[in-house]
Amino acid sequence: MASLSSSPPTGFSVSNFFTVSVLVGTLSTAVRFAVPYLLAALGETIGQRSGVLNLGVDGVMLLGGFGAYYAVLETDSHLFGIAVGLAVGLFMGVVYACVTVFLDAEQGISGIGIFLFGLGFSDLLFQELVGTPLPIRPLPRLDQLSAVGAWFEPLVDIDVIGPLLFDHDLLTYLAFALVPAAWWLLTKTTFGMNIRAVGENPQAADSLGVSVARTRFIAILIGNAMAGLAGAALALQLAIFQHNLTNGIGFIAVALVYFGAWRPRWVMAGALLYGIVTATRIRWQSLGIIPQGASDVAAMAPALITILALVLLARRVRGPAALTRPFSRH
């Protein structure tokens, strides 16, 4: 992740770390860091609301990330790369849906299977097709795009708000736009009602004529497509691919769903928390404010905060009642 943070200005000290511009810069980076977490966790939220746990998010992210990276490396088209990431996610979604919905496989374990496959296969493809990590053209921010750049350029120059809100790439806006979209899907649409129904009480939903298998199948497809997109976002933002690029982001995304109590906006808050902690740590480290050792300790913070949150929330917030339970008519 280190390559994402902009290079530190020289002559910095603790006293002027807390200047507005540095703070804004860190927060702006945090927003970008949050994107892969957010996309993956939102997708997982939709899947879990239908009663299906997918622990394979990390593997799908790696495959989608490699697909997007390789597509950009070959064609130099970011849109094509994003499309490939989505397609890879969709494909893995079909695989996972078949395994969990039609073959009733244990979800915690089959997710580990997806993870290992993604970890190994993305590395295999990378070593065979690319070999050494070749950087790709970084994902442009909106003000750098010829089509809309003219509109965004003046906005970026606004103090504080500019870098925070208008200095991002397309995927960042997409990720945050998907938060209300996911909320709307889950609470305001018939399909969303069906998702929640089959996640809470599949027997009842089934008796009312809702197809549990079809609803879960589509929810898994959405979730995995977003995991693929999350991988694409990570690879394109870092403009690189390497072995185990995600380094566990997909697993954290799964935890964020619990952290966010299966609600898109709280999931977003969790993703932003990870973004902020990561960005702050990297910024501090690059400025030499904290030594490497303290940085390693600080890297534990999000995981510890997540555990703490789970302890506080576990008995207060109830997840989908049928989560991890395969459904079959008896």
Binding site: A105, G113, F115, F117, G118, H243, P302, V311
Partner: protein, 380 residues
Amino acid sequence: MKRLAGASVPLLAALVAFFFGALMIVALGESPISGLTSMIDGAFGTGDRVAATAVRAVPLLLVGVGITVAFRANVINIGGEGQIIAGALLSTVVALAIPDTPKVILLPLVILGGLIGGAIWGAIPGVLKAYASVNEILSTIMLNIVAVQLMNYLLRGPMIDPIEVNGSRIPQTARLSDNAALPTLIDGTRLHLGVPLAVVAAIFIYIVLWRTPMGFRLRAVGHNPDAARAAGISVERNIVKALAISGALSGLAGVTLVFGSESLRLVTDGGSAGFTGSAGFNGIVAALFGGLHPLWTVPSSFLFGSLLTGATELQRELQIPNALAIALNGLIVLFVVSSNKVRSWLDRRLDRSMFSDSPDPTKNMGGESELVAADGVQRE
């Protein structure tokens, strides 16, 4: 006939996975036959290679046996990676603290340190699950992250090799005391004490699970917590116990990785797989393939150990990345867990439970097949 059905389904799943593996090798422009022969040669070609395969299988076996304990208590332990690291760290601390102690005392203490380190790292999610209802899948994953960062911190700071402090600052400990090294069993090979130790651990866990009251309680809690509670068994305590035992075995795997290594030191590359070789995850594959039975996990681990050493040879000889082995492991998991439905279909066809010949008192407590219950698949 029923034995056949029990063994044939995972074997069939493995065959399908290997078929995919052969497809990948063909896609990479090599002949699957030469791929297979070089893998077999790499894993079993010489006595030394067989020894290397056995050594590769040790962490898989220990983690895998731990997984079976957790699963029998209906707990999913994804925290093998973190528990391996915790065991490795505490045992390394012991070896660094008292390096000059005679081998007969130091080696057992180092092993004990590994067991305790892993047990603590396993007990934490156990306590969180039992007393705070925190999903153990999530807490074990989070503790994996914490363990890696703890290792990075300790190896870059307090535990770093004094030579590295002013040198290139490679995050590793100094070479540990020879008195703590796992002794080599056959000269000229890498076969060390960890191999028989892991097999003994598997047998020991089998006996504990099926021949002791403690094992009975663990499985009773896993099979039907309400019934167990009604019978006066503490569900909470047994959940903690299951995860602590599971963690202790992974911690022992960490000991074998450090004290069975040629360099005899703990090194980090910043991630977890660099040290563990993903044994925390691959052990799950081995356990699953062994039908979540401690004794079947022994040959199963050896098989997956040979897959790993074979893949190394594949890379050396045919330049096929050894990541292929990890991808295959993933496919095998998918096929094995998917075969449950195929298995129950076979069950119905044979009209009897195929695991009825395994000694399992909990069978009398409910109607469903033992393995299905352990998988947590059907809990209506």
